[in-house]
Symmetry: D3
Subunit: 332 residues, 6 copies
């Protein structure tokens, strides 16, 4: 995947989204005529997949002075350890002090999403994982959440915004709403097939009105070779998608000659459930993951000053001076 070109957000640049005390700090320092070259280091509170660094880089490129700066970092998507320094900025403090909130927040939220995605992808042992969680986050971050999920290893995502950022095709089948409005799964599937361009896979959602196994056979009979997959999304009220249901649908499709039809599973799929499906060899061809990824807890990042004008310093609790980390690369 080619990394997108991020544009710094206006609210960030203006300090609108910053903690107010950074705004005030910069103001005080200006009044005091203080603008030392300061080195700030940023580390994560727990291990995970680093994400958001590209967006941070775009911000720094816009605000740091042309000369007199040095930025070292790990790359987007790299694994990071707990407390490992992932970003080190050396530059006149007034140029970047205001952006500590945005830098921390971007890395926190994006790394939280990417890390949860990576967990799912590793648990799925090669079965493709798609991010379906846009519906569980504020739309202002739906795209960047899906971007982070794909950095974490998902093969696709459901939002157009995420797809655009990652240069992928948005992934999706059909919602229950389409089937309810059309009144029948087969009818809805045929309409879908009729009106969608050929590059969109024909994936039919089979738990709306009838038994999943019965409906799978009905749509397979209706679309034949054109049917790409069925999606099982059985709600919790009905016991969710079970491992045995996947095996049974697979067996019934095979028995009826529809070996080409794949089975896609969604609906409350957590890391734990992926592991169970894989462990018990359920014949799943794809997982759609919602809130396990999109609702992942952000990974808190901490930023500390470690040098002022090349002299080691630190607040209590931290070690003064540069923290050695040979994994860091100079990026600016």
């Amino acid at each position: 995947m080619i990394l997108p070109k991020f544009e710094p957000n206006e609210g960030v640049l203006s300090g609108e989204t910053a903690d107010i005390y950074f705004t005030r700090t910069v103001e005080i320092l200006r009044h005091e005529g203080l603008n030392p070259v300061a080195t700030m280091e940023v580390f994560a509170s727990r291990a995970g997949i680093l994400c958001g660094m590209e967006e941070v880089k775009a911000l720094l490129a816009r605000v740091l002075p042309e000369a007199n700066h040095e930025v070292w970092a790990l790359a987007e998507g790299e694994a990071m350890s707990a407390k490992e320094v992932v970003l080190r900025i050396t530059a006149p403090y007034q140029s970047y002090g205001l952006y500590e909130t945005a830098i921390g927040g971007t890395l926190a939220h994006c790394s939280g999403w990417a890390t949860a995605a990576r967990e799912c992808v590793e648990a799925a042992r090669g079965i493709p994982v798609i991010s379906f969680g846009a519906r569980h986050v504020h739309p202002s971050v739906a795209g960047i959440m899906d971007y982070s999920a794909i950095i974490g290893g998902c093969v696709g995502c459901s939002s157009a915004a995420g797809a655009r950022l990652t240069g992928t095709e948005p992934a999706g089948t059909m919602p229950h709403a389409l089937i309810i409005i059309m009144g029948d799964t087969v009818k809805a599937t045929i309409a879908f097939d009729k009106h969608m361009p050929p590059e969109v896979s024909r994936v039919s959602l089979v738990d709306t009105f009838k038994d999943e196994a019965e409906e799978s056979l009905r749509v397979a009979q209706a679309l034949g070779d054109k049917l790409h997959s069925v999606r099982l999304d059985t709600p919790g009220e009905r016991g969710r998608v079970t491992i045995d249901l996947v095996k049974e649908v697979r067996a019934r499709l095979d028995l009826a000659g529809f070996k080409h039809v794949k089975i896609f599973v969604s609906g409350g799929i957590s890391l734990e459930r992926i592991k169970q499906f894989v462990e018990e060899e359920a014949p799943v061809d794809g997982f759609g993951i919602g809130s396990y990824i999109s609702g992942a807890k952000p990974i808190d990042f901490t930023a500390d000053l470690h040098e002022i004008e090349s002299k080691p310093i630190a607040k209590r609790g931290r070690i003064p001076g540069i923290t050695p980390n040979p994994r860091l690369k100079r990026i600016m």
Copy 2:
């Protein structure tokens, strides 16, 4: 608090942030000439404080047809039960179907934040709680996160964006960076006092270089009556702010005649820790809460069609027809 006037986001209106299958569904229905009046109900997966409804209302106001619609909802900030219907829309489906993702995501994220804030506020038993978590979320949602925290009961927040949305003054003291650059807490506190307008409270951060109790006395001696509070933010490496530390600083300030100086506590404050502080009667005058609120898990919302052209219908696992909820008010 006067609720702000939200403006629907361009990405939302264009469908850019929507799950792609809603875009496709609307397209298919248009081709099929189907646009029935449909009733969609939205409920939360767990109990909490409803938030985001104002933003959803602004969106619906923009997209629903002038006539032929009915919207019922609970109000911003109301408590909701698990599975309680909080929003019911009856309108031609094509007018709003595309926005199911945005509606769910807005309510999910905002209600998650507001609910966590409410937990803290209730645990604090009257001690003011301030949202300090902007640094742990993506800057695109920093403002709305702080807004949600205040809907949940926080008295203030650290981001200018959140403050603007809620009509409050942004809250903040000084960061460690200011003190490190100025080299001494007293010096930094004096500079703060010199350059900040009088309406900004003089709150000094006292754990940067010296023992918190010693530093508290030093800044109190330096600023005298002008000092509003000290903030204790002892890092985890040094055992965090303990209940006994607060009691000791209070005792030492009192003993030295600085009874007017308040004590503000921050740094990894969780619900559990608030309860302990309150339980053991630590003399705290304010809590600053970061990731417990900002990193709260969104509350998943589910949207279902329950009537098509006034006829009860539902997918498997749901009850067809309108779900009675006398708490709903008609809002459009």
Copy 3:
């Protein structure tokens, strides 16, 4: 319920089912010319519902000498405490010594079943409970197991043998086998209605081929007022019968005008699950319980001699002499 008249089993009378050492003991005592009047007391290792006493009484009636005996006992179906004496026999030892095995085993097995049944019945808070566990015990005890379940409070049982012992009508619907052979649930239900006498309730099993809600409506439409109930027996592979499924089927039946059709639930129903159904007010009209009752652990009983020729005696660990228990009634 009128208690049945039990007939002592031939194997029991002959000593065939006894522990061999009782056979030998009686033989030794005969050789030694010893046949003292001995008092044996029997108690249970844990609390529960006493069952099997009627069968024990029938045995004693057959073997005790006409004169010179006294038997005190609690009644069939009474609650008993742990270690409470439930039976006391005073008679020449040779007349009953051989039957200690049978007495203990009858009480143990029957009380185990009755106690489990009572737990279910109490948890069901008035919803009828039927014993469906014949398939999980050896056929030699199927009848007595069902008898014990009814002593414990079940309103009916599935085996003819149990029904005969208790003077009830055997309870049952239709098995999956009938539907599979007839190829369709509606067809099977109609055949059932056609060939069964009118006093047999028309209960249709609705989880064989199609979605339970869909099938419920189909059989209701087919049989109309004649349909007494539907039985939900969803297998574990499909998530078992959930509380929400019962609510949904109820709602869909009501919506379609079939308020008279009851809902009967079976399939892996344990005490814990009954409690959940009742707690969450699932509209269940009857529970069919299998192995929770039929597989209940027998309650171990212990028999001890406490007097020989009216003189207190006991083995180590027991108190010599009669154990007072005012709840005992003289029965022989």
Copy 4:
């Protein structure tokens, strides 16, 4: 061991012990003129030792038509996995449909007992295990329970019925009753020796009146070389048989020159306690196990139709068609 010849029980053949709905199903099918060749498969809900198959075979031999049937099964005493098919019957349904209850119940109860016995035998690491549990089950199954225990690996059992079925000598010592009536352990042991035929081992029960170690020496002195073993059966009220008691009795017997006298242990012996005795090398020469085996929970079996007239079919939750299992052997 030579497997016994079982005779089908009259109650089973008549359908008296069957679930009533099978009786009704066969009646309906007769009325409808339906008697297809159906394939039924039977599997266990959890892993264990298969037992009861010989009795099932005897039943099928009696009811299946002479031609037109095929029966495949695992053998009596074989280990089976959870959900493994252990029996497959292909025959006209009316010939065997009525017996599903008896087949399942026989396998369930017998396999439950055999599996528990096997656990004990494996834990005992070569120390003989004897089934002493007849007193804890209904006498109608005392013999078949002991038979199952021996199929599971026990070397003997206490009931004459079980011994007859398995061609073993019934095992037993003397009960507390004999000693209490005779008034002294030594006196009882001498009487036992005097009246019992030589092939019955002289095993004296030594915990009735005096300290076990003292009594062991007394009976050893009284019987000398004729004493085969002592049995320790200390009741729970006195701390049960402890590992140290066995070691002490062994040491005291050895010290007094009675190295030939074996030690047999009984009284609330569970799997866990066998493991402890073996782990700590208690010099036990035999274990007598009661309710751990006789009170073992039956292993639920499930029977499903998988083919009708050679066409794959199955209810929801099961895979249509024959389930491959190369371990099955054709037995009829």
Copy 5:
């Protein structure tokens, strides 16, 4: 009980048992000519029964200057809370600084023992408790340990040293050694009765060679009315003294007409076991407690300076100045 007069130990007075740094501190202060009036406060780390204060008082009486001192304290045997100040000394520091180790250690060890004793006494609900733990502590503290146990509520103790300190008669029966040497419990009991003065209770130990119940009857028959009690001390290898054993021995003694013989229980008696005996109404007439009391963990005490020459001061973590505690009484 009249409190004994303690004599300060030579090793304490010389500083031999002190932490070396107190010796050095006093030496440094002498060199520096510093001997300010200092106030030291002492508190316990957890709640309990204060003990050792009399011994501390004796030490202070010996070392404090005649004038110019003030000592406030809780009294021997009083309940104290966690962190409550139990002792406050105001005097020239050089006079008492050396003794901080001895003061803390005396209170710690004695309060630990007294607190454990109190727990047993409270659990015993009026049944007398005797301290039997001398054998589990170094003989140098056997007496003071038993003294502390009696301060905590025990009615007696086994060591002569403890009895002398508390003005009680030493309590004891006979050891297993006496019985083993004399070869028989009855013989030993008769010898005991023959040679002991009349004021010593005749208590026979009944678990050495024979069954406890049998032996109890034998000694009761031998001594008749002179027998005061039997002591049950069954070892762990034989299942310890069980509740049922006590009940059985009581019943057998009563049945044989020895209602006057009391039952005394010892052997691994913990707080938990006392509670069980009391809960289940075992007819115990006295408990002998060993290591539960004698091996009780000392309660750590902390001593802090809070004033120097009447000026509040304290190390970090403590509140400067006198800690108010209205429960303290001035004792010197």
Copy 6:
């Protein structure tokens, strides 16, 4: 280390500290003219480090008759298993019977302390451990407790008494009291340096008034090369000494050029905390352990007679005769 020469305590020799029943037993035996050669064996209830044997040996040397005795034992400081015989005395019973209490108590208390010390030493993986617990035990055992800790592996102790017994230098730094009286840590450290002989290490306690890191640098600057170590003893109210604090102090000392200054850690250090410090590689140069060692539970020892005049005998629960243990050495 050369083992000290112990002198039997007067209270022990006189029987003052003995359980009274041993005094009585010896008196009875004298009256009866019984003084058989008896063999007593002593074993511990749990595994550990044997300690106290030297003191026991000194006692036996004083009381056993010149001829006619044999004593076998494990050596001071050896590891012992649970229930392993560690001491075997064969001699006329009257010569040593009175001392069973003292022998058991000495071994119990000393082995408890030595065992806890050994646990700490092993967990510290080569980092020196010093016993600092004198303040938590009665002064009568302060010396022997420290002796036992050193037998267990500690390199030093804080009490002069313990140091004398073990031929070590007493270990200690300065208490908070010295610093509080002198008013400043640097001042106190300079006074310490001025008045203490050169062989006493200059170790400064750095948590009294100021931040530990700041204070460490201040004392290092004041004493320069003469400063041996700083001691961190942060109280629980301030979060105790954390692993990160040690790392930070190390880093700040190194950065300022004081690499020679060692770091000594104390304050509530338990086995668990030592393991964490070692696991996370905190740069600790020494641990001071208080109540984990001094408050260790004594290890109960049991003494039993196993032979009388060379004839095997034992109470119930024990094996008569000598218990073989090839590890025992004859010591007398």
